[in-house]
Amino acid sequence: MNHVSEAGILLVMSAVSTSNESVSCRQRHDGVVVSNRNICREHFELTVRVLPGDKGGFGPTAPGQFIQIGCRPPAKVLDIDALSGDEFEITEGSWPNLKQPEMTQRLALLRRPFSLSGRWDDEQGTCIQIVQRVVGTGTQWLSELVEGDKVDLIGPLGNTFTLPADRKLGLMVGGGVGLPPMFYLANAMAKAGWDAVGFVGAMTSDLLAVTWADDKPQADGKPVKSVHEFAKHAFPAVVTTDDGSIGLQGRITDGLVRYIESLSDEQKQQAVIYTCGPHVMMHAVAKLAEQFGIPCQACLEQTMACGMGTCQSCIVKIEDNNNPHGTLESGRNWRYKLTCTDGPVFNSTDVIW
């Protein structure tokens, strides 16, 4: 998931499958920070551990899913004196001492949604990883966490990317904070025995939240093992930057087109495009996918409050003939669906871009 704005933005991927029954393990969990690494300008890779004993441990997850993190110190509701209701502690002869955290610093109220970039289990529990960009109060707080700090999170949430049984070539197209779910997806593809190529784009080189591998990104858009998160599974990557500071100069779709055109018809019929990133980028990717007849799953993002299907904030227009909310001039019927529980992954052809 990407986190795009001050309020929580959910990143989403499109899931091909309509069955997203994997929501039953959704829980609020206490987590402990394992590491928080500054990957590049404004971007942090946060790893949090949930203990096995915490409500039976963290539920099963798959790429595309997300968590909602409380971007403020966890509430100590039972500590009757910690929040005594006094916003000021007045000592004679001095200025009032501001006691409540809300009075002394900017604190995010709502949780912020983030796509999983990875997850692994060991004897100490479940480690959950996200990559986040500092864009506001909540993400700033997250960026300052250090090992041992406590966080409060809800998850796993949302549906997942799917790997169709009749295909085996994944084209993973991630722009900006849309990249993290692609890292998790690459892991799943390697396990499933797929071939895959990562497409990685950003405005400029120091905003690329990746770890560089041995090969140098190619200026002609040729895929090489340049991005560690893909290369560790032996998958190559195509890197594009708007300013050409690294890799191919241009949009992520420029790299994608070159690659798709290099494929045989047979290879195209094996391919699935997976995308997550800014709305305009995903729209462009979806158009390319349609043009080449390649199925595309898009992990959408939208501002959300709860992430649990309640607040009705994270709406997205999805083609639906069943109780439609409206009809386009083209005759397509659409319905508002929720990014958090109906998505975040949708078939790109179902999205009313």
Binding site: V77, A305, C311, Q312, I315
Partner: protein, 325 residues
Amino acid sequence: MSQTIAPNDVSLAVDLAGLKLDNPMMTASGTCGYAYEYQDFVDLHTFGAFVTKSISVEVRKGNEAYRIVETRGGMMNAIGLANVGLDAFVKDKLPQLVSMRENGPRIVVNIAGHSITDYVTAAGTISQNISVDAIELNVSCPNVGDGLVFGTDPTMLKKVVAEVRAAMRDDCKLIVKLSPNVGDITKTAGAAVDGGTDILSMINTYTALAIDVNKRRPRIANGTGGLSGPAVRPLAVYLTSRVYREVAKAAGVPIIGMGGIQYWQDAAEFLIAGATGLAVGTALFVDPATPVNVMTGLKEYLAKQGVTDINDIIGTLKMPGDQGF
């Protein structure tokens, strides 16, 4: 105060004009959907009462994105009363909702409308279900074209309340949710009481505006939205206190207080100000178990205060000028 009281010995049971709750904790309409959305996160049976999102006669798809924005200490929303409509609600949602009533929360259905006929139709239809304990009238949704008219005009409010009350099953309670977007809330509170409401709930959200300074446009699609969350709590506590002292207490009409309740301390303020019921709204989005946490804290607080019955603290505020201040 001298003898020690154990938190578990504190009774939280309250009686809202005959609507008996095991505890005062309720959900604020629109922050808890149709209930089942939160069932993975909290045992809904622990709540005193459950209040649905607003149901309208017609299906409402709601406003365009963006529908919410976080502001400091609060959030603004303009969802636009998105809901499945009366028929689908009664057929699909209500049976599931009332199924949790046994050994669980009382069921309150919130309704919204554009006309008295809308309100009468919705209230009459829904109250036919004997498991619906109360109907709450949303006469103050600030995010639809004409929603505020009923909520701000005392004459209109009294009329709609009286007609809805007459159309409802007799033992189904009527709650009127007051808008804070008025000059003198005691006028609208009084009108609701005169119209025959059993209970008042307060407050709905404050109409507010957040601006994207780069685009010089509102940050939510509707333009304005309703502000909720901790930022409004002191304002809500004030209005609760005023209505309790100037209207509700004398009329014997209980108040459900809400507005920024996140911790037990917030809830305690509303109780002292005169609220008998307590609704949690925005905080549910952060943690659906907030009402449970608030209850735990309240019991400890009341025990420390030497209070064994929560009713003994309701409306105990002393203001400057009061006897015994």
